[in-house]
């Protein structure tokens, strides 16, 4: 295990700048999640670290050693792919043993077997070791893929949306398991996803990527409560943050230069209008069971916020809307600390 850092790394494919002057460093034992939409350069970043792509400029340093020009095999990283990860012609056990059987490593058959058995237990697949890898369910396949990475002790585990092809229930289970395993092994991990829940629940630090650039990096709490700009704010929170013109609602103590106000559920107080004064109208109540989404029209804007499952709001209700220390953004989209 060791520190991994990218220094001003750029990579273009034809006219597309996939990664643009990216600088990022991951500390030993840290779980860093890169969050961004499709095409933000997340996967390319992982492939650059793994050595599957060569950067156009910049350098990649692992454990103080410049690995920019090294082959993947000599970088000592492990990679979990989004899909197609298991060798279809091998059994589960053979898949898990595959990295250990590399000619570069000289392990005895006993060592290999005991490591495979340990890892199989860790990812809870030890009952299916002799199965063909194509005969597994999606969740089992991904557990084996993760196991195949864990069977070694590389400097860093690179995970490229390993859970995205699974259904919601399985994703939730594996998310917990992965976090448990990482904490158990104290391993360094760089995990890429477009799922904000995965990022928020697993990461020590979240890096927000957009158009190949690292927009902000910090703890989940920092990213959530102090987003650097509108883009970061829009990536986190469910339902998505409401972005409103500064003058839409009265009584705001907005700092000078505020152009946009970002209001999440916790920044909004909505009450039924007591007298004739009202700011907006309830458009629609979306029942999700454990909670409700409340859609409110204020002026010509629509707000979405959470409300209790036993809400008293009904469609057509006239309501007052007040802000409680929301986020302020200037004309360029940067957040103004307030």
């Amino acid at each position: 295990m060791a520190d991994v850092s990218l220094r001003g790394v750029s990579k273009a494919f034809g006219d597309t700048q996939a990664v643009d002057e990216l600088t990022l460093s991951i500390k030993d034992g840290e779980f860093v999640v890169l969050l961004g939409p499709t095409g933000a350069g997340k996967t390319t970043t992982l492939r650059l670290i793994a050595g599957l792509e060569r950067p156009d400029s910049g350098s990649i340093v692992i454990d103080g050693r410049d690995v920019t020009k090294l082959e993947p095999a000599s970088r000592d990283v492990a990679f979990v792919f989004q899909q197609y990860s298991l060798y279809p012609h091998l059994t589960v056990a053979e898949n898990l043993a595959f990295p250990l059987r590399s000619p570069a490593r000289k392990l005895t058959e006993d060592e290999i077997n005991s490591r495979v058995a340990d890892v199989a237990k860790l990812v809870r697949i030890d009952h299916k070791l002799e199965n063909k890898s194509t005969k597994l369910s999606g969740g089992e396949m991904q557990r084996v893929a993760i196991g195949r990475a864990l069977v070694r002790k590389p400097v860093i585990y690179l995970m490229d949306e390993p859970l995205s092809s699974l259904d919601a229930k399985l994703r939730g289970d594996l998310r917990l398991e992965l976090k448990r395993i990482q904490a158990e092994l104290f391993s360094t991990m760089l995990y890429v996803t477009h799922d904000q829940i995965e990022a928020m629940t697993m990461a020590d630090r979240i890096g927000i990527l957009a158009e190949g650039r690292l927009v902000q990096i910090g703890t989940p709490k920092e990213i959530y409560t102090e987003p650097a700009n509108l883009h970061v704010a829009a990536r986190l929170g469910q339902p998505a943050i409401n972005l409103l013109p500064a003058d839409l609602l009265p009584e705001t103590a907005a700092p000078a230069g505020t152009r946009t106000i970002g209001a999440r559920t916790e920044h909004l107080t909505i009450r039924k209008a007591a007298n004739s004064h009202a700011d907006g109208t309830v458009d629609w109540v979306e029942h999700l069971g454990d909670q409700n989404h409340l859609h409110v029209t204020v002026g010509n804007r629509k707000l979405v916020t959470l409300t209790d499952p036993d809400t008293l709001f009904e469609r057509g209700d006239r309501v007052t809307v007040r802000l409680r220390s929301p986020l302020y953004f200037d004309g360029a989209g940067k957040r103004i600390a307030g």
Binding site: Q83, Y84, H89
Partner: protein, 315 residues
């Protein structure tokens, strides 16, 4: 099967039966020549040219005797003076006033065919796999033009280049050598192999090799451990196509080989000249000639089917 009756995609039982009947009829018709050859190989020479043709006849292995031996005509006195015949072949030959002089050239020619066909198939598939992998995985400059160029060698019938190849081979000392024939058939087959195999290798996700390379394997090791096992279907299908071509090739073989390296196809017709029209021996030669390709095809029939329908249905 009431469910099937209402199914939109599943053909009805009646149409399945009609289709099966048509297939069987077609198969029977196309197998008549094969049956004819097989039957003729077990007829006696008089039976083989009988008119009307004999469908029912007493089988004899005289054709096979004549295929594997050469015979000389002798006087009845000479034959009577010989010790008793030791084998069936001896006996039938003597009845026709001849004695066995020695083995024929069929066996060495047949061995030539085996060596040249399997040798060139191996070379074509080996080179084709590596080239197809290269085209599939690397950014090869002018890849499309190169692939087109490779395919363009199949645009003309092989015999169109017969004279230049004949002259070149004479100059290089490759005429009538097994090496020359292996090289020639490899050159013709490698274009087919590259194109077929590229399709198969394109279908293998590159993530497998990337995973292997990250797991500590070099590209060549990853190719051998991960790509090859998954390309076996394609390789087998390609090998059959190459083998069928090399095995059946007649034009080049008759032009470039005459003695030591002659293959079976140009040899078999020459049997007919020895001692009258010996159709059973020709038919026997053809029947024996069919065996290896039949065995190879039956062994790999699943892969062959996949090779033929390849690309028709995407997973």
């Amino acid at each position: 099967m009431s469910a099937a009756a209402h199914s939109v995609v599943e053909p009805s039982t009646t149409s399945k039966r009609v289709a099966a009947t048509l297939v069987v009829i077609y198969a029977l018709i196309s197998m008549i020549p094969l049956f004819w050859i097989f039957a003729t190989s077990f007829k006696t020479p008089p039976d083989s040219i009988a008119y009307p043709p004999k469908v029912v006849f007493t089988p004899s292995i005289e054709g096979y005797c004549n295929l594997f031996t050469t015979r000389t005509r002798q006087t009845p006195e000479y034959i009577n003076a010989l010790p008793p015949a030791t084998s069936f072949c001896d006996e039938t030959t003597r009845k026709r006033n001849m004695v066995i002089a020695g083995p024929s050239n069929f066996l060495p020619r047949f061995v030539n065919s085996l060596v040249i066909a399997f040798g060139s198939t191996f070379c074509a598939v080996f080179l084709g796999t590596l080239a197809a992998y290269g085209f599939s995985r690397f950014r090869v400059p002018l890849a499309d033009d190169l692939l087109f160029f490779i395919l363009s060698t199949r645009f003309m019938p092989p015999i169109a280049v017969a004279i230049p190849i004949y002259l070149m081979y004479r100059e290089l000392g490759l005429s009538d050598t097994a090496l020359g024939m292996v090289l020639l058939y490899t050159a013709v087959n490698v274009s087919l192999a590259v194109w077929l195999l590229k399709g198969f290798i394109d279908e293998i996700p590159r993530e497998y090799e990337e995973a292997a390379m990250i797991d500590g394997y070099t590209r060549l090791q990853a190719f051998r451990k991960v790509v090859l096992p998954q390309a076996t279907t394609g390789i087998a299908a390609t090998a059959i196509f190459c083998l069928i071509f090399a095995w059946n090739e007649y034009a080049f073989a008759s032009l470039l080989t005459s003695g030591t390296a002659q293959t079976a196809p140009p040899f078999i017709p020459t049997i007919i000249g020895e001692g009258g029209q010996d159709w059973p021996a020709v038919a026997a030669g053809t029947t024996v000639f069919l065996v290896p390709i039949l065995v190879f095809t039956i062994l790999l029939r699943k892969q062959l089917l996949r090779g033929i329908t390849f690309g028709a249905v995407r997973k």
